[in-house]
Point group: C2
Chain length 337, copies 2
C-alpha cells in the first residue's frame, strides 16, 4: 500500500504538502496541486484510516446500536439500518454495528477504544439501561426513540402522538363515532418502548376533542385474541366499526378476521394500518396507512449526529425532534360523505 510519503516522493514535494492538498487546510498553488493529484492517481493512494484517526483524533465512524435479534420487526429495523448507513456515507462517515447483546458494556467499549466518534441508539426504551451510560460518555449520542426522561439527551423519533391523533380525526371525519385501537403485540408492549403510549395518548386526545369514543383492545399474534377484540369492538359499536392497527403482524390477522365476518374494508368497516407504501399497495384492497417514516427518521438521526460531530461539541446537548407522520387513505377506509 502506498503512503502519503510515497506520493510526496513521486510528486517531488514534502509529505506535509500532500496532506495539505488532501485537507485543503492551507493554500496550495495550482501547479503543486496538480502534481500531487497526478501522483495520487498514479499510485492509487488512499490514506490509512488508522493513522488518520491517530493523528486527527477522529475516526469518521459512527456506532449504530441495533436491537438484539428481536425476530419481530426485523424488516423495519433493516430499513433503519440501511438508510442510516447510506446517509452516513453522504456525510463521509461509516457505520459500525454494535449489537445490543453486548449491552451497556458494548457502548463503553467502542467509545473507550475510540473506534467511533459517536453513537446512534435504536429502539430506545422508556427506562433504558443504556441511558446513564449514554449520558456519561463524552461523545455525541443520538437516540431513535424517546425515553421517559430525555433530559441531557438528543432524541429523534416519529411523532407517534400526532399519528394517533391524526388517525382518530380522519376516522371521525368520515362518520365513525366509535374507534377501536388494537394494541401492538404483547412482545412489543412488554418492552415498554414508549412510542406505544404516545400513540395511544394521541388517540385519546383526539377522542376527547372530537367527542368520539376510542376503545383500546388487546393485540396478539394469534387469531383468537384478535378475534375476541373484534367481537368487543363490534358489540360496542352501533354504526360502522373502525379499527386502527399499527402493528403489521396484527393488521394481517385483523383483515382476515373482518373478511371472514363478511365485512368489506372501506365499505362496511374502516381500517388504518401501518406499512410502507409499496407493501400497502400490494394488498387486494390497498390499505389506508399511517406512515411512520422510518427513512426520514433515520436520515435526520444521522444528520443530527454529523452536526454534533462537526460542532465538536463537548458539553452535553439536549434536543428532541419529532418527524411528522403521514396518513395515506387508500381503499380500506370509508370515503368522506
Amino acid at each position: 500500500m502506498p503512503t502519503s510519503k510515497d506520493v510526496a516522493q513521486v510528486a517531488g514535494v514534502a509529505q506535509s504538502t500532500v496532506s495539505y492538498v488532501l485537507s485543503g487546510k492551507r493554500p496550495i498553488s495550482e501547479k503543486t496541486r496538480k502534481k500531487v493529484e497526478a501522483a495520487i492517481d498514479q499510485l492509487t493512494y488512499q490514506p490509512n484510516a488508522g493513522a488518520r484517526a491517530l493523528a486527527s483524533r477522529k475516526t469518521r465512524v459512527i456506532g449504530l446500536v441495533i436491537p438484539f435479534i428481536p425476530e419481530l420487526e426485523m424488516g423495519s429495523i433493516m430499513e433503519f439500518v440501511s438508510v442510516i448507513a447510506s446517509t452516513a456515507r453522504q456525510f463521509d462517515h461509516d457505520i459500525l454495528l454494535v449489537t445490543d447483546d453486548e449491552g451497556a458494556a458494548g457502548l463503553r467499549r467502542v467509545v473507550g477504544q475510540q473506534i467511533c466518534d459517536g453513537l446512534i441508539l435504536m429502539q430506545v426504551e422508556d427506562e433504558d439501561e443504556r441511558l446513564p451510560v449514554a449520558r456519561s460518555l463524552n461523545v455525541p449520542v443520538v437516540l431513535i426513540g424517546i425515553p421517559r426522561d430525555p433530559s441531557g439527551l438528543v432524541c429523534i423519533d416519529a411523532d407517534f402522538e400526532m399519528a394517533g391523533e391524526h388517525c382518530v380525526r380522519d376516522l371521525a371525519a368520515v362518520g365513525h363515532s366509535v374507534i377501536s385501537v388494537i394494541d401492538w403485540q404483547p412482545a412489543v408492549m412488554d418492552r415498554h418502548v414508549n412510542y406505544v403510549d404516545r400513540f395511544l395518548h394521541g388517540t385519546d386526545v383526539a377522542a376527547k376533542a372530537l367527542g368520539v369514543t376510542v376503545l383500546h383492545l388487546p393485540g396478539g399474534t394469534d387469531r383468537a385474541t384478535i378475534s375476541e377484540s373484534v367481537d368487543k369492538a363490534l358489540a360496542s359499536t352501533t354504526g360502522k366499526p373502525a379499527f386502527i392497527a399499527p402493528d403489521r403482524t396484527i393488521q394481517d390477522i385483523l383483515r382476515r378476521i373482518l373478511s371472514s365476518r363478511g365485512l368489506t374494508l372501506g365499505l362496511d368497516v374502516s381500517v388504518i394500518g401501518s406499512a410502507s407504501p409499496t407493501l400497502a399497495e400490494l394488498q387486494p384492497i390497498p390499505l389506508s396507512t399511517i406512515d411512520l417514516r422510518p427513512a426520514e427518521v433515520s436520515r435526520r438521526a444521522v444528520k443530527i449526529m454529523c452536526q454534533l460531530l462537526e460542532a465538536d461539541s463537548q458539553g452535553p446537548h439536549e434536543s428532541l425532534e419529532l418527524v411528522p407522520t403521514v396518513i395515506t387513505h387508500r381503499c380500506s377506509t370509508l370515503r368522506p360523505q
Copy 2:
C-alpha cells in the same frame, strides 16, 4: 483518555511491558502482571484502536456488504446482519457496514483505507460486478451465495439444491405424483441470484430420480399471477396437488387462494413454504417449511473469515461450503400413509 504510557507510569513499569501484559506475547511475572492489571482497572484503560491498527496492521474489523435497500426480504437480511455482528464479536471483531449503493468502489475504499481486514459479501449474484474486485483485493473475502464462476473465491450458502431435492422427495413419499414449484417473485428472479436455479435444479433431479412430475410455475406478488399458476397446477394434477413455495411473500397469497378454492392444507393439498420456525407456528394451520438456516450460514461465514484472518493468508484461497437445509413437517403437508 488514558494511554498505555499512563498505565505504565501508575504501575511503575515500561510502556512495552503493559503492551506485553495485554498481548501475552512475552512472559510476564505474576507480580508485574498484577500491578499492571490494577493500574488498568484504576484508570479504566482501553487501548486506542487507531494506534493499535497502525502498529499491528490489523483493524479487527470486518466489512459487511449489504444489499441496497431491497425492500423485499428485508427481514431475512436483518437476520443475517444481526447474527453476523454477534458472531464477529465472539471472535473479537467488529462489523462495518458497507452499503451496496457504493458498488465496487466501496469495496476498494474500505480495503484501500484499511478500515477493514476482510470483507463478507451478501446476496452474491450469478455474474456479480463485485467479483473481479473481490478477487483482486489482497484481503480475505467471503461470499454468501455462489456465483456462476466461484474459482478463486471463498463461498458459503445454504444447500439450495439439496433443499429442492428434499422437498420433492418428501412430497413424493406421501403420494404426490405431480408437484408444482412456484417461482420466487419476479424481482428476485430478475436479480439472477443463483440460489433460485440451484433450488429448481434440485427439484428436477429428484423428480427424475423418483419418476414424478415437477411443474415450474411463475410467481408474483399479485393474486392474479398466483391464481393462474394454481389453475395450471390443478389442471395437470389427477391426485391431490402439492406446492412448493419458497418465497415468503408468495406463500401467504398461495395459502389464501387455496383456501378460497375450498382446499384444506394438509388434507386436500400439500404446501411446503419457507419461514422461521416461530413464524411458521403462528399460522392457523402451522406451515411445513424448509429452513434455509440463515443464522447457521451467517455464523459459518464469520468463522471462515476469522480463520482466514488468523492464518494471515496471502495467496488467493478457494472453497465452497454448503449448509444442509432442514425440512420440518408441520400440518400443511399430507401425512404419510
